[in-house]
């Protein structure tokens, strides 16, 4: 198996240029939606929810919203986005006829997906801070964490893309995998409120460790096994990244 080279940056630059040209057509949605959810759930539902330690509900959901929308950004970018570039625009074919190889292209796409997560996570963090919902300087680590999270979800997305027969196939991935993660990873309710079995399952879902880490960084309270969470994220990222390079290579050089 071959790894990628520094040339992947050329693909990242291409995606960045396109984003800078077209960002107004999609990016505001990626920030507006989480803010709306945050305010709606936080103020609406928040009026009925009492948390044990007296924390405001809206503060409780901030970290989960950041982590979830960072996940959505990378996932959309490297499923629908990458698929369109690969199958409809044949952009990957054009690039692999230059000194770049398939691994560089896929790494560039994944790093770009991670960059989208970074931007989304940072934007929500800034808005949440402006509303006075973030209390710890540790929150400054959230953007790089969102990037790492983006690498993980972009790699998973790329793996799905390498097997997707059509663009509609991604609907399964989103309804059966991504959306359930949004609800079962401790974003809206503490995991302890779920039945035992859901709690256990929740730990094998990649979004859960990210939500826990982000929550710790927002509050500045480090209680859970966070090192384990970080290790889990890194291991999953490396595993999915390498696997997606291999499966994409197979798809693109058939």
């Amino acid at each position: 198996m071959k790894l990628f080279s520094w040339r992947f940056i050329r693909v990242w630059q291409r995606d960045r240029d396109v984003f800078l040209k077209l960002w107004h057509s999609e990016a505001p949605g990626f920030v507006a939606e989480p803010i709306i959810i945050l305010l709606a759930m936080g103020t609406g539902l928040g009026a009925y929810v009492g948390l044990v330690d007296g924390q405001k509900y809206i503060e409780f959901i901030v970290p989960g919203i950041i982590a979830s929308y960072a996940m959505f950004s990378a996932s959309f970018e490297c499923t629908y986005g990458s698929f369109v570039r690969m199958e409809f625009q044949r952009t990957f074919d054009a690039i692999i006829a230059t000194p770049l190889n398939v691994e560089d292209v896929i790494a560039g796409e994944i790093f770009w997906g991670a960059t989208r997560s970074f931007m989304t996570g940072t934007a929500i963090l800034i808005v949440a801070s402006a509303f006075g919902l973030v209390h710890s300087l540790w929150a400054l680590i959230i953007p790089p964490l969102a990037f790492l999270e983006g690498l993980m979800f972009a790699s998973i997305a790329m793996l799905i893309t390498s097997f997707a027969p059509s663009i509609y196939s991604f609907n399964y991935y989103f309804t059966l995998v991504v959306t359930p993660m949004f609800f079962f990873s401790g974003v809206f309710f503490p995991l302890s409120s779920f039945p035992e079995i859901v709690q256990t399952m929740s730990w094998v879902v990649p979004l859960t460790p990210v939500v826990h880490l982000t929550r710790a960084l927002v509050s500045g309270q480090f209680s859970l096994p966070l090192l384990l969470a970080l290790t889990l994220i890194i291991v999953l990222t490396v595993a999915f990244f390498l696997t997606s390079l291999t499966t994409m290579k197979r798809r693109l050089t058939a």
């Binding site: 040339r7 040209k21 952009t91 690039i95 770049l100 190889n101």
Partner: protein, 307 residues
Amino acid sequence: MVPAMSVIKTEHLTKKYKQLVAVDDISLEIEEGECFGLLGPNGAGKTTLIKMITAVSPPTAGEMWIQGKSLKHFARQAKAVLGVVPQMDNLDPDLSVLQNLLTFARYFDIPRDEASRRSREVLKLFELEGKQNSQIRELSGGMKRRLLLARGLLNHPRILVLDEPTIGLDPQAKYLVWHKLAELKSQGVTEFLCTQNMEEATTLCDRVAIMHQGKILSLDKPQELIYRYVGREVIEVEVSPEERGRAIAELQSRQLDFEDAVSRIYVFHVDGDKLVQGIASSPDKLKRRPATLEDVFFRLTGRSLIE
């Protein structure tokens, strides 16, 4: 193993897609500075062969060298000296015409200023300056082709691999491209040209290979191929269904080399009219014309459509 100075060399190159053998054991050597033509009906395997020698698609078996370096180990270096014009449009529709070129130049690590200079140069060359800020979807089919050609020259390639470069071009643009290809060749650029245009192959190519069902059937200078398979001239005889049987029997008895295409019979390797006198019902049903590569193409690959 490494050959003398073939710019492109393949040995026993084979590509299989499941059961289908798209390229079947092809060994080729392309000399430096030559224009090599590849002709063949739809599905012959031309594009598949091109994808392998441009290191885009790995072979199922066999080996390739570009400038003496094995493609297996030096794919990046090879791709850096190749200019590729693909059969299918893969321009980047998210970017404008000029951005397409600048972005492509960046894949080759051409510095920004130089990229910008070269982009304008190739746009001018293919008469697209007025379109530099257009979006790809705003271009006509022929303009897209010209932009693909322009893009293929950005890295100042020593080897150009062109997959049907003039398809869909108007006569003016087609001659412009032919002229440019001839000029590049005179500067020592090696050209590997896949085409369905027989005139193009005859005009531009030093050698031509005829490919069919994954194999190369014949390979030589265009004139040599013509002399060998059809002779200098071809005689076309128009026949009605009633006359056909008699005409064929007559040609057979005279031991002439001919091909029966139902409403028309082509007679090859004939010098002078004597041999074919009396075959047609009247002299105006008989037409002589110079033999072309197209005759060779038909002789070698047949007249029916290949699926």
